[in-house]
Symmetry: C2
Subunit: 111 residues, 2 copies
């Protein structure tokens, strides 16, 4: 697997991380990536009604903000949450966001 | 004082809140607004090297995301954090962000 470039842990900054999470599709991708580490991009995006080019842009923003690692695996790209780096750099940040994101997704679900 | 329009508490959504916080200037404005409720926009922006039109846009984004209330008070605009609404809607979200934002600001300070 060939890893794609990503920022070093010590250069992660809070505002880009929040910006990356500040979009409903990216927030959902992050929730899925955390729930299923090592999945492919396409598996994680399953069922989202978003054009491929937009998705690819979302993944890039998440990678450049330091939320995920991405590696080329043959014809696939595999995604790993940078949970350790983010927990070290921003302790206590992600847990409430993932929890609240999950709650909101359920609110939006079929009624 | 004449209040400016803002979203109702029950219509606050997580992604716009994170988006609003996902900019270093807006994050700093929010930190200041939380520390000094009822201050004027100009007092809160003191010392930030940002054009007035950009600041005005930042305040609008914060207001429309539901982070702050704003009211016209003569020639000033006064800012109040919507701490209660945000705490009700997104419990546990803001504390780590404000804490980590403060820590990062100190890192960036004069060395």
């Amino acid at each position: 697997m060939r890893p794609l470039p990503e920022p070093a842990r010590e250069s992660l900054a809070l505002a880009p991380v929040l910006h990356a999470l500040g979009d409903p599709v990216r927030l959902e991708l992050v929730r899925r990536a955390w729930a299923r580490p090592g999945s492919t991009c396409s598996a994680l995006a399953d069922g989202l009604d978003v054009p491929l080019s937009t998705l690819s842009n979302h993944w890039r923003i998440l990678r450049e903000a330091g939320l995920i690692s991405m590696a080329v695996d043959g014809r696939n790209r595999r995604v790993r949450p940078r949970a350790g780096d983010l927990g070290d750099r921003f302790p206590g940040l992600l847990e409430p966001i993932l929890r609240l994101g999950a709650a909101e997704t359920q609110d939006d679900g079929p009624s």
